[in-house]
Amino acid sequence: MNRLDAETTPHAGGGDADVSSPPGAEPRTAASSATLRGTSPGAPLQVRGLAKRFGGVTALDGVDLSVASGEAVAVIGPNGAGKSTLLKLISGVHRPTEGEVWLGKQRLDRMPVHRITRTGVALAHQVPRPFHGLTVRDNVRIGAMAGRPHLHSDGIDEILAQCRLDIKASRPADSLRVLDLKRLEVARALATRPRLLMFDEVAAGLVGRELDEAIDLIRQVHAQGITVLLVEHIERVVRELVDRVLVLNWGRPMAEGAPAEIAANEEVRAVYLGDGDETRTPAARRAATPTASDAAVVLALESVSAGYGDMLALRDFSVRVQAGQIVTVLGANGAGKSTLCATIMGAVEARSGSVHALGQDITGMATHHRARLGIAHCQEGRRIFTGLTVAENLMLGAPLALARDEVRGRMERVHAIFPVLAERADQPAGTMSGGQQQMLAVGRALMADPQVLICDEISLGLAPVAIDALYRALAEINSQGVAIVLVEQNVKRALGIADHAVVLSRGRVSYSGSPEALLSDQALDAAYFGTADAASAAGSSPPPVPSAPHPLSASEGDLS
């Protein structure tokens, strides 16, 4: 908010851009700063009786939504509820089967996509899609080509500054980390001079301070007067940013109201939010955990370093996982969590150190041998075989040489944990919802009858109820004696279930110890971003660490 005030005040008093512009450019400049300042930009959105069917599948049916000019509304719902479809229908990626979409006085649903964009509709995607090989600035400039009238280069600079990309403007877009990629996605959308800006789960995968910054950025956009439509799973984002929430379920509107009303709505809790009691599951699990300290170590990494090319993504990492234990590995994006998983599985070679599992040195072992040894890896992004059926996917998890009866037995055990996989056995895996696909990925890993299960970001992009179901399943799997390495961005959930927590920060361990001690926001922030105590614990001097590596702190420094 700080930043917003600083950004807008100079313009209110006649910014540099206005002063230095030649008279001829006056109207354009005025329009541009009006857009950025928030005097006239938003437009009301009207969605009437919108329906979309893909073949025989109804993705959306009978959706009415009106968003006033400059209002912010969130659309929530379980995976597969039709949220993304709604955004795609509004932005013209898909054509509605029935119904109308209006922005102000213009009807959108019959326009080609590029005209919809020019009319003032922009969509920031969940997975950022920059033009690779172009610089950050060029990416934004391409967005500006769609704006009517075109945004000139001062406007682009303003947007870059607003999204805190000004210092990275000449870098190639490929070199950006996740938060900056998301900022670029927003910057590019802003450059099209939207009157309606839609955010499709832009906060997914962000944690701690990154999340704060993403929320701030959306808040700024809204404060400019642009109409905002959010699709989001992270409750906090919804609560802090919008006044009204539309809940979709199975493509139909289920409830609409203020965030507090929705949070109290029994029906919504049942299909989407879940019971929200994150402490219940682990409590039930604790009893089953062997707490003896001499339990067998099933996975041990000793000062492992690993990386890609010249870059070391993981430095001097050590951890011991005992049988039946749950160890969670947390950390900001790019901290080295996925590299750790890849190193344990052998997809990335350990440059130094050793990896032992189940009594063997596996440091140089091929990936498929590690899998057969009893380490199962549930990869980030699910990685299920979408063209194969659910049953085929599951069977691939079991060794090929395994007798049919035994395969069937394991499949029944997986079905007992995830009943939906039995119901959908003959369906192509790609046709299931995100939550179901994630269950399939975990179920497939279980088919190997592993002793160690590595779960990489299994709750990413899932509705709270789906996460509830997955975590209940994890507790059950663990109670059968399977050790679990849980890599997560969903900090509260992971800490709730884990016996031991490790936090990675820029490839190094910044915290290793009990999960309870991390539950306070301060402790977590310190471990994640190396402020205060954790920084000194990691052996760096406190003052430079918090400000230097982090763009947020740097730009705050500029302003004050």
Partner: protein, 287 residues
């Protein structure tokens, strides 16, 4: 166009499909364009000729042995030469298979000489009448055998766990490895299977026509055309594309004479690809 021409086209199309199937399988699963596929076909014919010409076997009896023999040669080639190449530069495997192709041609020449050979059989030149149409017996046999081999390949890929392992390795080798599938073995088995199919095609070609050490190239080109027409990932599509190509060839010979045969075929080929770059018979899922 007379029915004779249509029947001849359909039947010769079966052979094209058999050759195209191997190329399509290797490309679909390994992402490798095997430029030595024509030589695998010819290797099948030469191997069979050892038994047929020298020991007087019936070519159809020699066929399974030729398939097994070529598969046994192909397996280590993939496992120890081509798979390591696949990990490196993208052009390396392409150049590698081209090198193998030249090497094989030189070997054939050294061992068997450059004189055209053929596999003698009683049904090589005989014909039978089906519904009043005169048909060369060998093409009927070839077509039947192709249908059986295509069906078998389809069933293995879709109904067995080994088949789903192949499709998994094709879709996402990294994930397949994480699930304990030895991707190198899957690749080598797939390549060996494709080589066996090629050898079967070679024996049938050898009975129907004569062959020389350099006969592989036109067969490779035909197979590639079949693959491109069919699109990747559908065994049934390969069979249909082979037949379509056979009918087209047969009809163009009838209408424009033998000289225009390849011109018409490749024109059609470009036209189809311009309109449907994904191939004529491509399905959404593999298999």
């Amino acid at each position: 166009m007379t029915l004779d021409v249509l029947a001849a086209g359909i039947l010769s199309g079966g052979l094209y499909a058999l050759i195209g199937l191997g190329i399509s399988l290797v490309f679909g699963v390994l992402g490798l364009m095997n430029l030595a596929h024509g030589e695998l076909v010819i290797a099948g014919a030469y191997l069979a000729s050892l038994l047929v010409v020298d020991s007087g076997w019936d070519p159809l009896l020699a066929l399974p042995l030729a398939m097994a023999g070529v598969a046994l040669i192909a397996y280590p080639l993939q496992r120890y030469l081509l798979t390591p190449l696949l990990r490196g530069d993208k052009s390396a495997p392409l150049v590698g298979t081209f090198g193998l192709s030249l090497l094989a041609q030189a070997l054939f020449q050294g061992v068997f000489g450059t004189h055209p050979k053929s596999l003698p059989a009683s049904y090589a030149d005989s014909g039978i009448s089906v519904l009043g149409l005169r048909i060369q017996t060998i093409y009927l046999i070839a077509f039947a055998l192709t249908t059986v081999l295509c069906a078998a390949t389809h069933l293995v890929l879709t109904r067995t766990r080994a088949g789903s392992a192949v499709r998994a390795a094709s879709a996402d080798p990294a994930t397949a490895a994480v699930l304990g599938i030895n991707v190198s073995t899957v690749y080598a088995m797939t390549f060996a299977g494709a080589a066996a199919l090629a050898a079967a095609g070679g024996v049938l070609t050898g009975v129907a026509q004569s062959f020389t050490p350099t006969s592989g190239l036109p067969l490779l080109l035909t197979g590639m055309a079949v693959m491109a027409l069919a699109g990747i990932g559908s065994v049934g599509g390969v069979l249909l594309a082979g037949i379509a190509l056979g009918v087209l060839q047969s009809a163009s010979v009838q209408l424009f004479g033998g000289g225009m045969r390849d011109v018409v075929v490749y024109l059609a080929f470009f036209l189809v690809l311009a309109v449907r770059p994904q191939g004529l018979f491509r399905k959404a899922a593999t298999g």
